[in-house]
C-alpha cells in the first residue's frame, strides 16, 4: 500500500491541485458571464461533470467509450516515451487510421462481419503504422526531431485526407463529402446503446504492450535505447532500427485507436472529424507515467472528463475547454512536481518519466540517436 502511494501520490495530488486551480479560473471568469460572480460555480460544474460521467448507466458507458481510444493513444505516446521518443503525431496517425478503416470498412460493408471487421481494423492499424514510420525513419536516418515532423504531419494529414475524401473516395448519394456506410464492418455492440467490442480490445492491448515491454527482447532494446542510446549502441543493439520500429508501433497503436473510433462510434470519414484524442493521449501517457497499467487508469479518468463535459456546459455554461485547461494543469504539476511536494508536504518518487531526458537531448540533435550512422 505504501509502495502504491509512493508511485501514485504525485499524479493523484497533481489532479487535485489542477481541479483547485481550474476552480479559481472558473470563479474569476464568472465575473464576465451574464449570471455574474458566482463563488459556488465550480462545485456545480464539477458536480455536473461527475454526474455526466458516472451518474447513470449511459454515463458510465459513455465514459468507457471515450476512454477506449485514449487507452490506445496513451499507449502510443507511452511506448514512444519508453524509447526516448515524443510522438506528438498521434492526432495525425489517428486520422489516417480512421480514414483507412472507414474506406476498407465501406468497401466490405456487404461482407460477413468475421471477414469485414478484421480487415478494416488491420487497414486502420497499417495506415497508422505507415504514418508513424515516416517520422521514425526520418529521425533514425537524419536526426530530424520527431516533435516538429509529427506536428507538421498532423497538419498535412488533415489537408490530404480532406482531398482524398473529396476527390478519391467520396461516396455517392450524400450532400457532403464523406465515405460510404460501413455496414457489417462495424464493431458489434456488446451492451446498452454503444458499449462496443473496441473497449475490451483496448484493455487487451494494454496487456499486450506490457508483455512486449517486459517480456521480449525488442521491449528490452526499446527500454535500453530510451534510457541511454549510446550504451545501447555499444552493447550491440540497433538504436536506429529501434527508433524507426518504435515510431511505427506507436503509429500503429494510434491507428488502431482511429479504427475503433471509426468502426465503433463515428461510422464514416468526413473532413473536420478531428477530435481531441491526439493531445489527450499525451496527458494520459504522462499521467500514467508511460506505464501501461497507469495509462489504463489515466485514460478512464480523461474519458470521464470528455464524457461528462457536455452536460457540464449545458447545465452550468462553463465552457468545455475547461477540460483542456485541467489537462494542461495536470501536466504542469507533474512536470513541476516541486510545487505539488511543497503544497501537500509529501515525499515521493519523481513522477517525470526518466526517458524524457533523451527526448530533450536529441532536440535539433546534430546526430541521430545513438551517434552517427
Amino acid at each position: 500500500m505504501r509502495r502504491i502511494w509512493r508511485v501514485a501520490s504525485i499524479p493523484l495530488l497533481a489532479i487535485v491541485l489542477a481541479f483547485i486551480v481550474a476552480a479559481v479560473i472558473i470563479v474569476i471568469s464568472s465575473i464576465v458571464t451574464p449570471t455574474g460572480f458566482d463563488l459556488f460555480l465550480p462545485l456545480g460544474a464539477y458536480g455536473s461533470l461527475f454526474a455526466g460521467a458516472f451518474g447513470s448507466g449511459t454515463g458510465i458507458v459513455n465514459t468507457l467509450v471515450a476512454a477506449a481510444p485514449l487507452i490506445l493513444g496513451g499507449l502510443a505516446v507511452g511506448l514512444g516515451f519508453k524509447a526516448g521518443l515524443f510522438n506528438i503525431g498521434v492526432a495525425g496517425q489517428f486520422l489516417v487510421g480512421a480514414f483507412a478503416a472507414a474506406v476498407a470498412g465501406a468497401n466490405l460493408a456487404g461482407a460477413p462481419t468475421v471477414l469485414a471487421l478484421p480487415v478494416a481494423m488491420v487497414a486502420g492499424a497499417l495506415g497508422g503504422a505507415a504514418f508513424g514510420f515516416i517520422p521514425g525513419f526520418l529521425k533514425a536516418r537524419t536526426g530530424a526531431h520527431e516533435v516538429v515532423t509529427t506536428i507538421m504531419l498532423n497538419n498535412a494529414a488533415v489537408l490530404l485526407l480532406t482531398w482524398a475524401v473529396n476527390d478519391l473516395v467520396r461516396a455517392p448519394g450524400f450532400s457532403f463529402p464523406r465515405t460510404g456506410e460501413i455496414g457489417n464492418s462495424a464493431l458489434p455492440v456488446l451492451l446498452g446503446r454503444n458499449l462496443h467490442l473496441g473497449i475490451p480490445l483496448a484493455v487487451l492491448t494494454v496487456f499486450a504492450v506490457r508483455w512486449l515491454l517486459d517480456r521480449t527482447t525488442i521491449g528490452f532494446e526499446i527500454r535500453t535505447v530510451g534510457q541511454n542510446p549510446n550504451a545501447a549502441r555499444y552493447s550491440g543493439m540497433r538504436p536506429i532500427f529501434i527508433t524507426a520500429l518504435t515510431m511505427t508501433l506507436s503509429g500503429m497503436l494510434a491507428g488502431i485507436a482511429g479504427s475503433i473510433q471509426m468502426l465503433g462510434v463515428i461510422g464514416f470519414y468526413a473532413p473536420g472529424i478531428t477530435g481531441s484524442v491526439g493531445f489527450d493521449s499525451i496527458a494520459v501517457a504522462l499521467l500514467g507515467r508511460s506505464d501501461p497499467i497507469g495509462i489504463l487508469f489515466a485514460a478512464i479518468l480523461f474519458g470521464a472528463f470528455r464524457a461528462g463535459a457536455p452536460l457540464m456546459q449545458i447545465e452550468t455554461s462553463v465552457p468545455i475547454e475547461i477540460i483542456d485547461i485541467i489537462q494542461a494543469l495536470v501536466i504542469l504539476f507533474l512536470a513541476a512536481d516541486l510545487i505539488v511536494k511543497r503544497v501537500f508536504r509529501v515525499r515521493a518518487d519523481k513522477p517525470v518519466i526518466s526517458e524524457l531526458a533523451t527526448v530533450a537531448r536529441t532536440w535539433a540533435g546534430g546526430s541521430p540517436p545513438g551517434g552517427s550512422t
Binding site: P34, R141, T149, A283, A328, V352, V359
Partner: protein, 357 residues
C-alpha cells in the same frame, strides 16, 4: 528487340525534354510572378520570422522552447481582446496600439513562466512547452466562448498598410523590394529592423557574447562571473515577447479577428525556420521567407494560372496539396538540414549551479 529499345529511348528523351521544358516554364513563371508577390511573402513570413527569433534567443542561451505556438496564440487572443474592449472608448488606432502592447506583455509574462519552469524548477523543457501549447489552446478557447462569441461584436479592425507613391513603387528592381518592406503594417515593417538588430546584438555586443556563452558552455560562463540564470531568464522573456508580437500580428494586423487554434502550426514552422537558419537571426528570417514564398505560391497558382502545359499541370494538382506544401517543406528541410547544422552545445540541458544540488 532493337527497334523496341529505340522507341523506348525516344520516349525517354521526350519525357526528359518535357520535364526540362516544364522546369524552364516554372522558372519563367516564378520570375514574372514573385516580384508582385513580395509584399504578401513578407506578410506571411512575419509571424514565422518573429517566432523563429524567439527560438533563436531561447536556444542560443540553452533553453528549448516548443511552446512558441501556444505563446503566439495566447498573445493573439489577449491583443485582440484588448483592441475589442477599448475600441468604442478610444477609437480604432489607439486600441490596436494598446492591443499590440498587451500582446507583447502577455508574451513576456508567458516567457517568465517558461523560464521559471525550465530554469528554476528544472522541469523537462519539452514537457513545459507541450503544457504551454495545450494550456494556450484550452484557455483561449474557453475565454473565446465565454466573452467574444456571445458579444457578437467585431474586433478593433486592422491598421491599413502604408502605400508608397507610384513613382517610387514603379522603379525597376528597387521598386518591388521597397514595396515589399514598406507597403506593410507597422509590425511587418519592423521585422527587418528587429532581425538586423538582433544579428548585430548577438554577434557584436557584450550581451550577445554572454548569451552565446551560457548556451554553449554554462559552466565556463559561470566561472568567469556571468550569472547564467539571469542571462537565461532575460533571453527567454525577451524572445517570448517577440512571439507575443507575432501573435499581435495575426489578430491585429493580418486578419482582424480571432479563431480558435488560429496559429495553425506556425510556432512549429518557426522552429524549423530557426534550424534552417542555423540559429542566426538573418538565417531564420531567410527560412521564414522561404515558407512565406511556398505559401504565397500555393495561393497565387489558382489566381494567376501560368500558360501552356505548366498551367495544365499546376491546375491538376488539388488545392489541398498546395495548402499542405509549407508543412511538407518543413519536414524535408528538417530532414535535409538538421544533420549538417550544429545547435548550441548546452541546448536543452538544465544548468545546476555547484553546491545547489
Amino acid at each position: 528487340m532493337g527497334r523496341r529499345l529505340t522507341t523506348w529511348r525516344i520516349h525517354l528523351m521526350e519525357l526528359i525534354g518535357t520535364v526540362l521544358r516544364l522546369i524552364w516554364e516554372l522558372a519563367v513563371y516564378l520570375f514574372t510572378v514573385v516580384p508582385d508577390l513580395l509584399p504578401i511573402i513578407l506578410a506571411l513570413a512575419t509571424p514565422l520570422a518573429l517566432g523563429a527569433l524567439c527560438g533563436v534567443l531561447n536556444e542560443r542561451s540553452g533553453i528549448v522552447n516548443i511552446g512558441i505556438e501556444g505563446i503566439m496564440l495566447v498573445a493573439a487572443f489577449f491583443g485582440y481582446l484588448t483592441g475589442f474592449a477599448f475600441h468604442d472608448a478610444i477609437g480604432s488606432g489607439p486600441s490596436i496600439a494598446l492591443g499590440i502592447l498587451v500582446a507583447v506583455l502577455v508574451g513576456a509574462l508567458l516567457g517568465l513562466l517558461h523560464a521559471w519552469l525550465t530554469i528554476s524548477v528544472r522541469a523537462d523543457q519539452i514537457i513545459a512547452g507541450t503544457m504551454m501549447n495545450i494550456a494556450a489552446f484550452g484557455m483561449t478557447g474557453y475565454l473565446n466562448r465565454l466573452i467574444i462569441t456571445p458579444s457578437g461584436l467585431g474586433g478593433a479592425g486592422v491598421i491599413a498598410p502604408f502605400h508608397l507613391p507610384d513613382a517610387i513603387a514603379n522603379l525597376p528592381v528597387v521598386g518591388p523590394i521597397l514595396v515589399m518592406f514598406l507597403e506593410q503594417g507597422p509590425i511587418a515593417m519592423s521585422v527587418l529592423f528587429i532581425v538586423l538588430g538582433l544579428q548585430f546584438a548577438l554577434f557584436r555586443t557584450r550581451w550577445g557574447l554572454r548569451t552565446r556563452a551560457v548556451g554553449e558552455h554554462p559552466k565556463a560562463a559561470d566561472t568567469v562571473g556571468i550569472d547564467v540564470y539571469r542571462q537565461r531568464y532575460l533571453n527567454v522573456i525577451l524572445g517570448c515577447a517577440l512571439a507575443g508580437l507575432a501573435g499581435a500580428y495575426l489578430t491585429l494586423e493580418s486578419t482582424g479577428s480571432f479563431q480558435n487554434g488560429m496559429t495553425n502550426g506556425r510556432g512549429f514552422i518557426a522552429l524549423a525556420a530557426m534550424i534552417f537558419g542555423r540559429w542566426t537571426p538573418i538565417g531564420a528570417f531567410g527560412g521564414a521567407l522561404l515558407f512565406g514564398t511556398a505559401t504565397a505560391l500555393g495561393v497565387v497558382v489558382s489566381i494567376r494560372v501560368p500558360a501552356g502545359d505548366l498551367g495544365t499541370l499546376m491546375q491538376s494538382i488539388p488545392n489541398e496539396w498546395y495548402q499542405a506544401l509549407p508543412y511538407l517543406i518543413t519536414i524535408v528541410i528538417l530532414a535535409g538540414v538538421v544533420g549538417r547544422s550544429t545547435p548550441p552545445a548546452a541546448d536543452g540541458v538544465p544548468y545546476v549551479k555547484e553546491g545547489k544540488g
